[in-house]
Symmetry: C2
Amino acid sequence: MDIGIIGSGRVAQTVGGKLLDLGHTVTISSRDTSRAKDLGAMGKLPSADEWAAAQRADGADAAAGSFAQAAAAGELAINATAGAGSLAALALAGASNLRGKILIDLANPLDFSQGMPPSLSVCNTDSLGEQVQAALPETRVVKTLNTVSANVMIDPGQLGEPTTIFVAGDDAEAKAWVTRHVLREWFGWEHVLDLGDIRSARGAEMYMPIWLRMWAATGASALNIKLVMV
Amino acid sequence: MDIGIIGSGRVAQTVGGKLLDLGHTVTISSRDTSRAKDLGAMGKLPSADEWAAAQRADGADAAAGSFAQAAAAGELAINATAGAGSLAALALAGASNLRGKILIDLANPLDFSQGMPPSLSVCNTDSLGEQVQAALPETRVVKTLNTVSANVMIDPGQLGEPTTIFVAGDDAEAKAWVTRHVLREWFGWEHVLDLGDIRSARGAEMYMPIWLRMWAATGASALNIKLVMV
């Protein structure tokens, strides 16, 4: 499948790499595909161009391009930008390039401008997921995987027992397709819970503060939650 | 132990009943201890007076009084009011009656005024837990148990496997005491995670929207999350 990823950061490269491993064609994207990203204490990320070249050298069908090129190339699109830049990046990607397509929204509206821990730039009575859907009314937005780090998104099995991942969105068929193919078949998620329409992205995004606190409190290298119920 | 519960609703009666079963002395409290509460589709709750009388008839050491009477009577205090009314109730309880004491804050700042699902009346850059601590600077506030329903607070074993409960607060000794005695010994919580200072109550309270969505999506009679990590 041809998959266009809006973004070229750590999440885009991790998810893109997994999709290439599965045999898909992947275009990652950036305003400047030649720019490497400095992640501070976490090291440096290759530029989109460097990443795509390295993947191609391994025989994978990878490309780097503009947001619009990735959106146009993809039969399926993925928003893997940082939440603060998502709406601007998707505007550049172009509503016409995303019309009728499923857009998986992985982003969280984290606001680091006031220091750590970050707050959310939108929450409570609105969400980034809703803003993305409102900006792209003819695109089928599915909010999912934003509640785990990139390495867990593509490899939930590393946690040693099944944990829970959420989907939210207005298009039931799109959620079912993403659940069946992307989450279960491609990435190995067994427990997928449909939270409801795109407004339920508020819940998935407002989970970020406790998620960040759980990371800080445990020092785990990977974590997620499992819904337990009777 | 003498325990004063601020509030007389479902949470107060459930937690109070468990504390009485454990042999403690409990005062629940209300502006009007003679008033029964209509919970709509969930039926009626006995008034504080009726509840205390029924508990005494069973041989338990229960009383009903004003917020100030409960606060003064308790060696340990518990805020079991609805979040929208917590600050007003605690003002009536009186800072002097709570000075130096541990106050366990169970409340969530749910705002039902705009319909369902509720939003939060405070979140993101502040929390009810912080507001309670700021209003009662000489009280040792421990935010905990707000992430589960009342029946799970006092009986986590019903879920069939250990799940995770959080504590947050500025006073490390108070958190340790609550963790050891109230959570582990009295209520049976095995997995207690200290999220950090009282600002981490933001995370515990902002978990409410996804918690409410999980309830709606599953129809479970009891639920909680288990932190899974490597």
